[in-house]
């Protein structure tokens, strides 16, 4: 039971971020570290700015919210 709750809490931040459509920075860092260890990693600020731009710029006809 406690394990399950702890498991859920682990996802809390990612859940809140993705609820508003912001990719989770920690996941990104982890991904870069494991899969591209030699390449530079964006700072939180760079990552966040790029993500915001990508979400609303509507390039590629991307629609992020509904009626």
């Amino acid at each position: 039971m406690f394990k399950q709750i702890a498991g859920l809490l682990k996802y809390r931040r990612q859940f809140l971020d993705l609820l508003v459509g912001v990719p989770h920075y920690e996941t990104y860092v982890q991904h870069r570290r494991t899969h591209h260890p030699d390449e530079p990693i964006l700072t939180r600020k760079q990552f966040f700015s790029e993500a915001q731009e990508a979400r609303y710029s509507a390039k590629g006809g991307k629609i992020s919210r509904c009626c």
């Binding site: 996802y11 931040r13 990552f47 609303y56 629609i63």
Partner: protein
């Protein structure tokens, strides 16, 4: 792949059998109480229980049937999130987290407004359509589009239609999508206008959201980069402070006039705002307000759900009102087809097809998660619609009609309105109307059309019963107005950007240079075109003799259902291509229903002899009066009379275009199906199958 061969039914587990028998029985009993009890009021909880049981059974059986038999969901197959994992857009994401993401993206103002308007026919027709519609049409559409996009590396609906159904069909569909976008923005903005007319309290809090958002934007950019939740908490506290101070503003004789506006003024303010907001950097205004409104939305919806269960209000609206015959004041037209386009989102919403082919498919961890995210999230959205319906139906019917009938029908004075509405058989006194206005801190409740004020009154009723009592009624009312207006304005801003892009892409198909999205001047022009387009319909709605919602909401509903029809035609096409001839009825059934509904509604909106329904009839009515030099309806002068005539012709043209788009896509689809059936070669444009490596075998075992 053992899961595919399993029988869809229960696995001989008696506990499961007993459980699902109980759920089905409970659902049937609740629905029977909701539908059949006559003469005494029905508690709203029965409606909640009926809906939840039906959703549960549909999810357990129909969604699983779709996953296993129709779509053959395959957990040995790598998803785009795994194949293209970049830690950012393509990320395998826990299904609960992704469910939240997807639900927050599909939940908008639509499911809160449609059911409120439909409540004029009583609660039963709306409730039935919401429940049956979502199970057989809405959730099916979301699920199949999410599935198709996930199998195609997360492609958008437009691209998938181009690939599978041809370029021309894709282009036509895109024009349709732009059309619905424009009408959507206009009608949503109109709802905000209607809610804020003559309401200094509401206007003040909405105005405050702008500096609050700027502050949050700066905080997330410079002070604590990327800390969305922190900034949102700060923003929320400021928002509540603004809301509380708003009461003093409304009561102050010096400040209140500064925030009291006519409808047309608010419309022009919104248009100007829409233009400025959508050329500003996103991090400054749009993004922070989006975060704030999303958290607020999820929080409020949860609060409403808890409130309904705790307060257990009675449904005061009859199960079917006398207006099922199509003579209602809120929107005109018969149950068929107009109920089915009035409640679009909540039952089936074509717009979701755009979302389900957006960011979500790029984050699916396992194909089997799509059942919960595609089908399940839409069921949840439908539940939101049920709650909105309940919020509207717990209001005394007489008061409901006072809020939702245009001034042209009930007049602008409480005595007159009360006697008109009482003469329809829904008794209400002038005193009741003025008391309510006083309780919610507004000058009047008459003709506050558009759905938002009704929902706010209903929510204030429920929430003030949970906390605060009568004293906090006005707070909760304005809280509800704020929450709706906030996310509608965010949609207006975000939607204008999307519309701008579509305008540019369409221009790009004519001339490559016009479609350059990097050019600043080009962006301004395209934004201008987009804002002008929805702004025109907005102003038209504000001066419309029947209140605007009557014509614009119908157009929006037709457009949205039309898009759903297109998405389902696409779904049927890929089922044919996948060789699933035996199961095409899964999409063909809702497709045919939606086509019948949209075409009938479109035809009636065009040619119906009743001026309140048919655009052409109303144009003729006003033209005749104009020719005689008479001023009728709410028109103030001959100029406005001419305007109303032109607006009706324009609405007729738009309606005609929508119908043409559907017919073209339909013909293209049928030709393709015929070709496939008669053995012509075709290709399914799915991405190549990639097997998950043997290490992660647990995926295979996970249940659909």
């Amino acid at each position: 792949m053992s899961i595919h061969n399993e029988v869809c039914g229960l696995r001989g587990n008696w506990k499961s059998i007993v459980l699902w028998c109980c759920v089905s029985l409970l659902g049937a009993v609740s629905l029977a109480i909701v539908a059949l009890r006559r003469g005494e009021t029905v508690n709203a909880v029965w409606l909640v229980v009926a809906a939840v049981c039906f959703y549960a059974v549909a999810y357990r059986f129909y969604a699983r049937f779709m996953a296993r038999r129709v779509l053959e969901i395959d957990d040995t197959r790598m998803t785009p999130a795994e194949l293209h994992n970049d830690g950012k857009d393509f990320v395998p994401t826990h299904k609960g987290v992704l469910f939240g993401h997807h639900f927050a993206a599909i939940a908008g103002a639509g499911p809160l407004v449609g059911p409120v308007l439909a409540a004029q026919m009583g609660y039963l027709p709306g409730a039935l359509w919401i429940i049956v519609g979502v199970i057989l049409a809405g959730a099916v559409q979301d699920f199949i589009v999410l599935f198709a996009s996930t199998r195609r590396d997360g492609k958008s609906l437009g691209d998938m239609i181009k690939d599978e159904m041809g370029r021309v069909t894709g282009l036509i569909a895109m024009i349709g999508i732009l059309g619905i976008m424009i009408i959507l923005l206009a009608v949503l903005a109109l709802i905000v206008v209607k809610a804020l007319v003559g309401s200094p309290w509401g206007m003040f809090t909405i105005a405050c959201t702008i500096p609050i958002a700027l502050l949050m934007g700066a905080y997330m950019r410079y002070i604590r980069p990327g800390r969305v939740t922190e900034a949102s908490v700060v923003g929320f506290i400021l928002l509540i402070a603004a809301l509380i101070y708003g009461q003093s503003v409304a009561e102050s004789t010096t400040l209140a006039p500064l925030f009291t506006f006519q409808g047309e003024t608010i419309a022009y303010l919104l248009i100007g705002y829409g233009f400025v907001a959508s050329v500003m950097p996103v991090w400054l205004l749009l993004a922070p307000r989006d975060y704030l409104s999303t958290f607020l939305k999820i929080g409020t919806i949860t609060a409403l759900a808890i409130g309904i269960v705790v307060v257990m209000p009675d449904l005061l609206m009859p199960y079917a009102s006398k207006f099922v015959n199509g003579t209602g004041p809120v929107f005109s037209g018969n149950v068929f087809p107009f109920l089915f386009i009035t409640i679009a989102c909540g039952s089936v919403s074509g717009f979701h097809a755009l979302i389900a082919s957006g960011t979500t498919p790029k984050m699916i961890e396992r194909e089997s998660h799509m059942t919960m995210i595609g089908y399940g999230a839409m069921l949840t959205e439908s539940f939101v619609a049920i709650m909105a319906l309940i919020a509207a139906c717990i209001i005394t019917p007489g008061i409901y009609f006072a809020i939702n009938s245009p001034a042209a029908i009930i007049g602008a004075d409480a005595m007159q309105a009360a006697s008109t509405i009482s003469s329809w058989g829904y008794s209400v006194t002038a005193e009741q109307l003025t008391t309510l206005a006083h309780d919610i801190g507004e000058s009047t409740v008459l003709s506050r059309t558009g759905g938002a004020p009704t929902l706010a009154v209903g929510m204030a009723n429920i929430l003030s019963n949970v906390a605060g009592g009568k004293a906090l009624m006005s707070f909760w009312y304005h809280f509800a107005i704020l929450f709706e207006a906030l996310f509608i304005l965010t949609t207006v801003d975000a939607g204008t950007r999307v519309g701008r892009f579509m305008v540019q892409e369409l221009m790009g198909t004519v001339n490559k240079r016009l479609g350059n999205t990097e050019s600043f001047a080009g962006n301004l022009v395209a934004t201008g075109i987009c804002v002008f387009a929805w702004g025109y319909f907005l102003v038209q709605g504000v001066i419309d003799p029947l209140g605007g919602i009557n014509s614009l909401w119908a157009l929006f509903g037709i457009a949205n259902q039309m898009l759903a029809g297109i998405a389902l035609l696409f779904g049927t096409t890929i089922l044919f291509k996948m060789g699933k001839k035996a199961y095409v009825w899964v999409t063909l059934l809702p497709t045919s229903w939606l086509l019948v509904v949209t075409m009938t509604a479109g035809y009636q909106k065009l040619f119906h002899a009743e001026p309140s329904i048919g655009f052409l009839a109303q144009a003729r009515q006003y033209q005749t009066a104009l020719d005689d030099g008479r001023i009728i309806g709410t028109a103030k002068n001959l100029g406005q009379m001419g305007q109303i005539v032109r607006n009706n012709y324009l609405n007729a043209v738009i309606c005609g275009i929508f119908m043409l788009v559907v017919v073209t896509v339909f013909i293209a689809a049928v030709r393709m199906w015929y070709g496939i059936a008669s053995g012509r070669p075709y290709t399914l444009h799915e991405a190549a199958y990639a097997a998950r490596d043997s290490k992660s075998k647990e995926g295979v075992k996970s249940r659909v």
